[in-house]
Amino acid sequence: MAKLYINQSPNEKVENLKPKEETISFLLNYSKALHVLDGKQMQYENLLN
């Protein structure tokens, strides 16, 4: 019979994953930098660093 070389099911692994701190940090900085300006008929996005 074939041997199974796995100790943990994929589902168990999935539950422990988290995004990297850099990703969270990038998102928070992106949010701080993003400004939306209302024009007459459109909205304009501005990234201010």
Binding site: K18, P19, Y30, S31, H35, V36, E45
Partner: protein
């Protein structure tokens, strides 16, 4: 004693819209694991998961800042839907452009097409059907009624005419306008309903 988190998502969204960046941080930290795991459970690749997670929240931030968010009280399902759509976009792109991974080992399955409805295609199909159902709900009552009877109940126009007490020509006309209006809504909102 552990402090119980009492601020609701809706409150945090409101605080963020009022300018509190800290509220966004709380929202992301509260839901990051669930959203990340949801994406990973579909793509099984950490780098792709990281990218889709990032794109999901970029879309969330842009939508909130543009004042387009209108699902108060349903923040998590809304974010999950964005993530789900981005996962589908990812699979669509990959289907168009099959790629080799450069791990050194040749994998025959990376070049053989799988014509069956695999998990990704089923997701895309489900998404399209769900989008179409939502679009149909937007139609005027008389047009929606005819379209549902014809497409979902497979009724003939004669049967539809009898059941709705109109002439066959009227039923045909309503079907025609239903399709025209569906196309208009699809064009207006740039909705993509194709598999590839």
């Amino acid at each position: 004693m552990k402090k119980i988190e009492t601020t609701t998502d809706a409150t945090l969204v409101r605080q963020y819209l009022e300018g509190s960046e800290d509220a966004l941080s709380k929202l992301i930290n509260r839901h990051k694991q669930r959203i990340y795991n949801f994406i990973y459970s579909k793509v099984f690749d950490r780098d792709i998961t990281e990218d889709i997670f990032q794109d999901t929240f970029i879309k969330v931030i842009r939508t909130l800042k543009r004042g387009k968010y209108n699902e108060e009280g349903k923040f998590l399902p809304w974010v999950m839907r964005i993530a789900h759509n981005l996962v589908i976009d990812h699979f669509r792109k990959n289907n168009r452009m099959p790629k080799f991974d450069n791990s050194g080992d040749f994998n025959i399955f990376s070049v053989l097409p799988d014509e069956d409805l695999n998990a990704e295609r089923l997701m895309v199909k489900d998404q399209i059907e769900s989008d179409v159902r939502e679009l149909i709900r937007e139609l005027p009552e008389d047009q929606r009624e005819v379209l549902v009877m014809r497409i979902y109940k497979d009724m003939s126009f004669k049967e539809i005419a009898e059941q709705t007490n109109v002439s066959i020509n009227t039923a045909l006309g309503r079907m025609r306008y239903a399709l025209i209006n569906l196309r208009k809504v699809i064009d207006k909102h740039d909705i993509v309903l194709t598999k590839y």
